[in-house]
Every structure is written in C-alpha cells, then in structure tokens.
C-alpha cells in the first residue's frame, strides 16, 4: 500500500492566482463598457491589442528564460497587465505606442526583474510612464471626444484604421483635451464658471469620464467584496485625494474641485485596479494605508502643481519605490507581543 506523503495542511481552499486575475479582468468589464459607450471603440481595440502583445511578449521571454510557457501564461497575469494598459492609454494612441508600452511592461518591468512576483514596480505603470515621457504628443493629443459630441463619430473600422495607420491625419477631428487637462490649463486665466463652459465637462462633472469612473468604482467594490483586494489601499488613496482637494482646492477658481479629482482621469481605475497590484504594493494593513495615501497625495500634487494633467502612473511608481521602506516599519503587532517589531533585526523588541 503506497500511502501519499504530504505536509500539512491537507485541505486547501485556495482561489488560484489564475482565477484571481480572471476576476480582476471581469471586474474591469463595466469600466471598459462605459469607455466604449462614451469614447468609442478605441479602448476596446487597445485592450485586445495590448493583451495579445502582452501574451506574446510573455511567451517569448519565458521561452528565452527557459521557463514553462503554458504554466505561466495560464496565470493570466500578463493578460491583466495588457488589460490595464489598454484601459489607461488614450483611445487613439497609435499601435506602436501601446506596443512599446506593453513590451516594456512585460519584458523589462516584469520578466527582467524575475517574472511574476519579483517585480518591484507595477509593470503596466512602467510601460505607461515610459511612453508618456517618450511620446508626449501621442499620449496627450489622442484622447477621444465624448461620443455624445461627435457629429461623425468614427465606427469600429475607422478607429481600427486610425490606430494602426502610419499617419494619423483624421484624428484631430475626433479628439479633445481631457477635463483635467482643460481645467489645469485654463483655470489660471479664467474663472471656474468660464472653464466649465467647455464641452468636455458636460452637465455633471466630466462628460463621460464620470460614468467611466463610477463603472470602475463598481468593479472595484466587487473585488473588495470578493476579498480579492482589501479596502485599505483604495480607501486611503481616495481619502488622500479628497483631503488634499478640500485642504488646497476649496477655491474652484484656483484649483480643480474635489468631484473632478475623483471622477475624472484615471482615479478609480488607479485606486481599485492599479494601486492594488499586490506584487508591488505594501504588505500589512497599516502599510497599505500609508502606501495608498501616498499615491493619493502624489496624484493631487502632480495634477495641481506638476506638469501632467493626470498622475496615476508616476504616483504609483514613486510609491513602489517606497514599499520596502514602508514594509520595514509597518509590520503588524503579533499575538502575544506588546508592540510590532519594526525595523531591522537586532533592534526594538515587542
């Protein structure tokens, strides 16, 4: 009788990584639908394109690294990286811009650092930041107008052709400055009421953007409810933006108001889908609160006083840098100890 030998525990009830990632993908669908409804086919095409490139890049580098390809592709993490880039990039970003973003995310930020679980920086945000710095024009002028404004909104074929053509001649007619961009650049010389007359703001907060953000919020809450992410990072992230807006931006004639910060740009996508990437985020609850709050503060600072209208990528990457430091000082208090054992071995008891 050959009895199986196994170390305890013998029971398992894990949600495998592949399923966790699948839930992340599913939770992003409402946001993608909202993007497609309000901004056309661009995001959907980007998502498909980015996912395909991400999987191909992952497979190639896994082969070069002599790792099991199917085993790792099945974990769906490359697909999530592609998805997040597809959701974040401008709708009419040319194919090579998104391609470079994805390849640098997968190859450099993820695999060259050791692959899944070993990357100190959020791969999608590395890719995003890289193309944002390298191709600033392509990354700022290709944001689609809200679809409700388009007279001759481009169909699927036209969008596809625009993204994959070598020259983007027709794109100007379909694009528009984003609400955050518009507000940032006009408020210095105009009053809030004047700035808000621009069609990009619409009747509510930021035409189309508000619904996209609310859809990502809904998807994010689903992830929290499913316990795929904890509430700590998104709550600290959003709370920090809110507190900063109330503290500094109470005067709408000077700085963008709170509702614009929360419901325009990549706020909700960043709070629930990007900052919560566990590999590059802080570990303990306390650490997550500090990490999330740090991102929120940085987003506000860069949006308000920096050069960029939005700042999720830079803020996340900057806080990624701080993660080892945060983790070092925020271990939880263990049962039976008076206080947490912070810092390095050999110091402080507990």
């Amino acid at each position: 009788m050959a009895l199986v030998q196994q170390s305890s525990p013998h029971a398992h009830n894990a949600r495998p990584t592949s399923r966790v990632m699948l839930w992340v993908i599913l939770a992003a669908i409402p946001g993608l639908v909202a993007q497609t409804v309000f901004f056309g086919w661009g995001n959907l095409i980007n998502v498909v394109w980015c996912v395909v490139i991400a999987m191909a890049a992952e497979a190639t580098i896994l082969k070069l690294r002599d790792k099991p390809i199917v085993f790792f592709l099945k974990d769906n993490t490359a697909a999530v990286t592609g998805l997040l880039l597809g959701l974040s990039l401008p709708q009419f970003a040319p194919w090579w811009v998104s391609g470079i973003a994805v390849i640098s995310a997968i190859v450099v930020a993820k695999q060259l650092y050791g692959g899944l679980g070993s990357n100190p920086f959020n791969p999608a945000m590395v890719g995003y930041a890289l193309v944002l710095i390298s191709f600033p024009v392509a990354m700022t002028t290709n944001w689609a107008q809200p679809a409700t404004l388009w007279a001759g909104a481009p169909g699927f074929g036209e969008t596809l052709a625009t993204i994959f053509s070598s020259s983007q001649t027709s794109v100007d007619a379909w694009t528009m400055a984003t609400p955050l961009d518009e507000y940032k650049h006009k408020i210095a010389s105009h009053t809030a009421a004047e700035v808000l007359e621009h069609p990009t703001f619409g009747d509510l907060v930021a035409r189309g953007w508000e619904w996209v953000n609310l859809a990502f919020l809904a998807g994010g809450l689903l992830l929290v409810w499913l316990r795929i992410i904890t509430w700590h990072i998104p709550v600290a992230f959003l709370a920090a933006i809110a507190i900063m807006s109330l503290a500094f931006g109470y005067n709408a004639d000077q700085y963008a108001p709170l509702q614009l910060h929360l419901l325009a740009g990549g706020t909700m996508l960043g709070a629930f889908f990007i900052a919560t990437d566990p590999v590059s985020a802080a570990t303990s609850h306390q650490g997550k609160l500090i990490y999330g709050a740090g991102i929120g503060v940085l987003i506000y600072l860069i949006r308000t006083w920096g050069n960029y209208p939005d700042a999720v990528a830079f803020s996340v990457l900057l806080m990624n840098f701080a993660v080892p430091f945060i983790d070092h000082y925020t271990p939880p208090r263990t049962y039976g100890h008076h206080k947490p054992r912070r810092g390095a071995p050999g110091k402080s008891g507990g």
């Binding site: 305890s8 679980g117 983790d327 263990t334």
Partner: protein, 609 residues
C-alpha cells in the same frame, strides 16, 4: 452569556464532521497485539518495569518514569508481554521507537484499582499523585503530563480554568462525541481540576457547530458554577492561544505560558480521564478516537485501547483498501501523513482520516508568491506569512525570527488559502528547525570557548604561582648562601688559615669528583651518584634541575591539553612525552630530597611542591 472576543484571521474549511457523528461511540475490540510506546508525549520516555514473558493484568503499570517529566504506561488489558522492541510509532518522521508489545489473553482481567469517592478528604498532592499514577497526559495535543500542568509555577495563580471543547479541526469529532455521551464525567473531571487549582472562573468553550454537545454539557453543569461558552465556528478557535483570547480577551505573552496571565487550558478528554482516575481508580488505558474519511464505510468514534494498531481499527470501521490514498493522523489542517498503518493509537491521538484521492487531492504545483496577502488576512497570530516565507526560502533566518517566526503555531491557515499553492507551513518548519540547530551549535561552541578560556586562565594562574614559588626559593637559597658565606668566613677567622691550602685542595678534589660523577651519570640517575654527604652546591644544582624538569613538564602538559582541545593527531606522542617528563620530575625531586637528607645539619631551603 459571558462576553466573547474575536481573534484575528481564521478560515472556514469544510467541516466533514457529520460523517463521524451519525453513530454513537462504539467499543473497539481487543486487538491481537497492543503496541505501547514508552514515550507517548513530550518529556522523558518511560522505562519498562516488566520483562518479556511476564503476565500482566489490565491497568497494571508496565513502564515508569523515574526521573524527569513523564507519566507511567499501563497495560490496557490482561495478557503476556510479547516483546520490548523498536517499532514504528506515530510521528511525522515515521520513526521507530521503543515499545512494549502486549499479547492480550482475551480475559480482560482487571488488576487492583482503588476508586476514591470523596477526593475532598485527600490532600491536593495525593490527588495530583493519583492523576500522575493513572498515566494522564493531555489528550488534546502535545500531551503535557497533566499532573505537572496542574502544578503551575508558585508565583502564578490560575484565575480561569478553561476546558477546550472547541475542536475546530475538520473531521475530528472525538471531543464532540465525548461531550455528548460522557458529559457528566467531563464535568466531574473538571471539578477535580478546579478543586486543585481553585480558580475564580471555570468555563468550557465549545464551537457552535456542536449543538448536541452544547445541550449535553449545559445539562451536566446544572447546579455548578461552570460556564458553557458557545464560540463561533472559525478555525483555529481550538488553538490554546486563540481560545484563551476568545474567552478572556487576554493574550498569552510570546514565549510564555497561559499561567502567566492566570489561565489554564485543559482538554475535555483529559477531564474525562481525570474523572476515571479518581472516581473509578482506572488509569488511562483507552480513549475516544475518530476514524473517518471516505475510504472507510462506517466512519465514527470508537473507545479504543491505547496501543491498538491503526490497521486493526481501520478494518473495524470498514476500510476499503483499494480506495485508500492518504492516511492522516489528526485533522486535515495540522495532522501528518502516516507511512504505515501499523502504528498504534497513543494517548495523544485523536483521529485518523482514511482519505481517498478525490477527498484530499494533491495540491497543484507551487507558483511564485504574488504577495496577495491572503495569508496575512487569515493568520490567527497576526504574522506576515509571505515575508516569513520569503526569508525562510532565502535562509535569512535572522529576519524571519525578527518577524516572530517562532510565534507561528503551524495551524496551516496560510497554506489553506494560498493562491499560489505554496506549502508555507513546511517552509516555516524548515526555518524553525534550522534556527534550532544553529542555536544548539552556537551553544556548543560557546561552551567549548568558555572551557578553553577557563583552561587558559587556569594555566596562567598556575604559571604565576610557580614563578612566585621559584622566586621564593631563589630568595631562600640566597639567604642560605649568604649564611654559608658567613660561616665560612667565621671558620677562616677562627684561625684555620694554616689548613687553608689543604682545605682548598680538598674542595677542588670534591668538585672534580662531582664533575666526574655528573658526566658519568645521566640526569635520570642523579640519585645514585653522590655517595658522600651532599653539600649546598649539590642541592642547588638539583634544585635547578628539578625546576627545569618541572618547567618542561609544564610546557609539555600545556601542549598536550591544547592538542586534546583541538583533537590533533599528535596527542598520543605528547601523552608519552608528558609521562616521561613527569617521571623525570619525580626522580629529580627524589634526588633532591635525598641530597637534602644527606646534607644533614645544613639548613634546607624551603621546598614545597
């Protein structure tokens, strides 16, 4: 309803308890062979006090712990001692240990046993002795000898006595069924413990998934001050530290014991054993044991004799051998797999799971950790399992220890939820073992260093003392020399000047003879040489010789000790050299004494060796 607290983390594994609670506790038969390990719990192993071929009666003591922590072993039935040999025992390593093998004679004949009806009339020490003599060690887990546990440190007063009936591990129902069917005995045992400890609060903690046990226990505690606390089902609520937190809101300090915060936990099975030991005079020779899993047709609880081989019990529960894939002793969260079913049930065994391949499938292959933190969410000790894993894997044990590696109770909750299927607990066990080994080695080398340093200090001290003695001797010799000079001068002054030349010639002659003798005889033969009375110079020379020999012996001794400390291969040679030098010193000393005797009236220098 007393106040309850919550503990951090925890998981809700599928319970699988109904399988083994549908039938009442059955008496397992007397197997053909009973295997009684001499060590059934932590502490010292017992020593057999019977010989092969002896006939023993049921309940007769067959092994005893004479010194140290431990309890005796008793014959679970009457029969003949068949062997005392090394056999596989229940242990994660599958190791063999010394066991007494008893061949039952089928008569099940009791030896003498003396029940006590009113223990209140006894001294507490007498009751504790009865508990010890009944061979009771905790039936819940590690099996700490119960009488020792019931003697908390003098400066610790147990204010709360907890009976652990949580039984949070899936599958296991031994405590559940014990409480359902033997509630009165459990309560009686608890009363004995309470009488010994005199706590201000007695509470029995039971998970809310055992309604029948709760009802039975509530009935049994009617009219007593014992509380029944129904605690929410959450693994591992039955962990001692977790149950204490739930029932008292207190935490056992890291590295401490519950008595440090005035709490003591006992298992319900232990309470029943105490009750039987006192009121029936019966030692711990059987226990309630769960046999379950999908590979047995009639899972359930059995009253089994200690020492019954698992194989016999599986047959009794209707084992389908072709279905059996994994045998787990204990529960699915903390139990360990058995390599063989020949191992016996011991005092601490509570359950065996005969699992099919579909029931407990092998875990999927390990993937990289994605730091998702699920493990930290469920850790009941509020550790950072992923960091501990990282440091354990990287063998950075110092950092793992800093993150409280040794507070891990190995409950398995982290592995249970890990999406990357990482065997986390195995990594922690590895790290703990490595740290323990390193510590043991560190202790060993520290001791060796201390010994070496002490020896160096001793040698130095001895050297100094010798130097001091040498100086004293030199001083005494100088004094003697001066006196001799004075005497000689006096002689000259007394007018022996005429004989001066003769005397001088005689002295020269003497010196010549001495020199001749010296060259003729090697230093070893000194004592044979001077036939004529020795004089002062002779003694001085001998003294010098002795000192030299002593110094050499010292050096050689030092070299030898060092060689021994380093286990060098020239130890033998040095040993011979030391012996030789020792002889030389002895001879030199004898020669000196001899010379001094012969010197007669000459004032002998102060020699003390």
């Amino acid at each position: 309803m007393s106040q309850l607290w919550d503990f951090a983390g925890g998981v809700h594994p599928a319970e699988h308890k109904h399988q083994s609670t549908s039938r009442p506790i059955r008496a397992a038969g007397i197997p053909e062979r009973l295997i009684l390990p001499l060590q059934q719990h932590i502490g010292e192993p017992a020593e057999a006090i019977v010989r092969v071929g002896d006939r023993v009666l049921k309940g007769q003591k067959i092994a005893e712990v004479k010194t140290g922590m431990g309890v005796p072993v008793h014959a679970p039935t009457s029969g003949i001692i068949d062997a005392i040999e090394l056999l596989p025992v229940p242990h994660p390593s599958g190791m063999a240990d010394w066991c007494i093998v008893l061949k039952p004679d089928g008569e099940d004949q009791w030896g003498e046993h003396q029940p006590v009806s009113d223990y209140h009339k006894l001294e507490r020490e007498q009751v504790l002795d009865m508990i010890r003599e009944a061979g009771i060690a905790g039936l819940g887990g590690a099996g700490f000898p119960t009488d020792i546990k019931l003697r908390p440190p003098r400066d610790r007063k147990v204010e709360t006595l907890i009976l652990n009936g949580a039984e949070c591990e899936p599958y296991i129902t031994a405590d559940d069924m014990t409480m359902r069917e033997h509630a009165a005995e459990v309560v009686a045992g608890m009363k004995v413990m309470a009488w010994i400890l005199r706590p201000s609060r007695c509470v029995i903690g039971i998970e809310d998934n055992k309604p029948q046990a709760i009802t039975a226990m509530r009935d049994a505690v009617q009219g007593t001050q014992i509380e029944i606390a129904v605690v929410p089902t959450k693994y591992p609520s039955g962990g001692e530290k977790q149950l204490i937190r739930i029932l008292t809101g207190l935490e056992v300090p890291s590295g401490g014991i519950p008595a440090d915060i005035g709490v003591m936990c006992q298992n319900v099975g232990t309470a029943m054993a105490v009750s039987r030991a006192i009121f029936e005079g019966k030692p711990l020779i059987s226990r309630v044991f769960t046999i379950t899993g999908e590979a047995v047709r009639q899972p359930g609880n059995f009253e089994v004799l200690i020492g019954s081989p698992i194989s016999d019990l599986l047959v009794e529960a209707g084992l389908q051998a072709d279905q059996l894939n994994r045998l787990v002793l204990g529960g699915p969260m903390m139990g360990y797999t058995l390599t063989t079913d020949t191992v016996p049930v011991v005092k601490t065994s509570n359950c065996v799971i005969a699992a099919t391949a579909a029931e407990l499938p092998p875990p999927p292959p390990e993937q990289p950790c994605i730091r998702c933190g699920q493990c930290a969410e469920v850790c009941p000790m509020e550790l950072l399992p992923q960091q501990l894993f990282w440091y354990s894997k990287a063998t950075e044990f110092e950092k793992a220890e800093h993150l409280n590696l040794f507070d891990c109770i190995e409950c398995g909750a982290c592995s249970f939820v890990c999406p990357s299927s990482i065997p986390l607990v195995q990594y922690y066990r590895f790290a703990k073992d490595e740290v323990r080994t390193q510590r043991a080695e560190q202790l060993k080398s520290d001791r060796a260093r201390e010994r070496f340093e002490a020896r160096q200090a001793r040698l130095e001290r001895e050297q100094q003392e010798k130097e001091l003695r040498r100086k004293e001797r030199a001083k005494a010799a100088a004094v003697a020399q001066a006196q001799k000079q004075i005497e000689a001068e006096q002689t000259v002054a007394q007018g022996d000047a005429a004989d001066n030349r003769d005397a001088k010639a005689a002295l020269v002659q003497q010196a010549l003879e001495r020199k001749k003798a010296k060259t003729a005889a090697p230093p070893e033969a000194i004592q044979q040489t001077p036939s004529q009375p020795a004089n002062k110079t002779d003694i001085d020379a001998l003294e010098k010789q002795l000192m030299q020999a002593e110094a050499k012996l010292n050096t050689m001794q030092g070299m030898l000790d060092e060689a021994k400390a380093q286990q060098a291969d020239n130890v033998d040679k040095l040993e011979r050299a030391v012996a030789k030098n020792h002889d030389r010193v002895e001879r030199a000393r004898e020669a000196l004494t001899d010379a001094q005797k012969r010197a007669g009236a000459e004032p002998a220098p102060q020699l003390s060796e």
